[in-house]
Amino acid sequence: MATEKVIMAGFGGQGIMSMGQLLTYAGMVEEKQVSWLPSYGPEMRGGTANCSVIVSDNLVGSPIITNDATASVVLNLPSLLKFEQQVIEGGNLIVNSSLIEIKAKREDINVYYVPANQIAKEIGNDKVTNMVMLGAYAEITKIVSQDSIVEAMKKVFGPSKQHLVELNKDALKRGAKAVR
């Protein structure tokens, strides 16, 4: 395993930033080198949000991903249109097919369609859509283990939200199953 550079994108409120942070934290749990960089700017409410996460065995140089993403995880249509082209040849594109009805154009990358909102609803909470996508991503790339992500959740959620770990763990598993 060399370096995983992933762009995660969707609209504000889909939990894009926290999904990226959990992955970063999980990488840290596994003692890998990590960085998390949010897009920030004069964004409007409901606008697009994205973050770049690098998980590597080696020191992270630039935390910026410029047309060299090893994967893109896209949760809404504008994100697919913007970030499909950033993935390198042979990379992975994971599409939230609950909200994105069109198919990806590229044929030189691996595309996975995950009905993430639908799966999240099935297990009882639309809010864990992001964890379904993260579960799928981790299953495909094997960059971090599910256990490390759960470990990260325990740290990030804080004492008052520990009861949410089980639900999120479930979402990770279902996401992984969807791409197996």
């Binding site: 942070q21 960085s35 960089l37 920030y40 700017g41 630039s62």
Partner: protein, 353 residues
Amino acid sequence: MAKILMKGNEAIAEAAIRAGCDCFFGYPITPQNEVPEYMAKHMPKTGGVFVQAESEVAAINMVYGAAGAGFRVMTSTSSPGMALKQEGISYLVGAELPSVIVNISRGGPGLGSIQPSQSDYFQVTRGGGNGDYRIVVFAPSSIQEAVDLTIKSFDIADYYRNPVILLGDGMIGQMMEPVEFNLSGKTNLPKKDWATTGTNGERKPNIINSLALASEDLERHNYKLQKKYDEMEEKEVMHETYKMDDAEIVLVAYGTTSRITKNAIDSLRENGIKAGLIRPITLWPFPNKAFEEIPKTAKSILVVEMSMGQMIDDVKIANEGRLPIHFYGRAGGMIPSPEEIANKAKEIVGGAK
């Protein structure tokens, strides 16, 4: 200690608290808002003071007051706010008040943008305040380094009785990386017997002032300050070199840009071009010696900045006309890609052959 994942701005704030910062004064501005946000939440827990001032001008003058009373004090801002603080910074130097000033810079001039930029190089190294003054300026390129240098800044400020500037940019402020907090443990700092802490009727009042109307007095004061600047130049210079041993082209970059430049250097080397990096960690004092030590293999220098070219002036001074100097910069919040930098280097190397 186990590492934790933190945003640059929050990590700087936590580092300041661990370094014993007693007082924080600031005024909100993107992209550094997490610094005052974090301070507002955590300073009261350690018995510290947090004040959101009515303006940057007020904040820097509160710094003057608290530093004069002998407290460890910090303010943070971003470029246009830094511009407003210039008068206060000159006064802090004049009155010899230790303080830490953080600038998480953004695009300019004027109100500019909120995106990362390095166009405040002149502002921090030359200063917009009046008079003969110098300030140690640290430019971290990672969150860990931002933490270490924040802690160091407080010690250096106290040691020299001079402000210290920590210069980051929007990317350093907003990104997250694992950090740990190691206190340097500098214990031989002079006692603050000059501070205005109340005389109890037992000693003459201490006076904090930057006014000296008699020319002889002010010149004497200028010589005293200059002696401190000389010592800073001798002792506080910091830089890093990367793959310089056999470099044929020397790239020079600091902060955020240096990380991107390292990626460019790696890709250049994969293509058989021997590139190396000099990364100034202190922008003032500038690492002039690093340029004297450039190996004979080097044929040219390429300065990379997120500005239209500011540090290049210091590179020209340090280079003393030895090698031809080229420049690549992006501005306004645009961030150069490793590819762009590598292409510029290829163009230079190709042209030289």
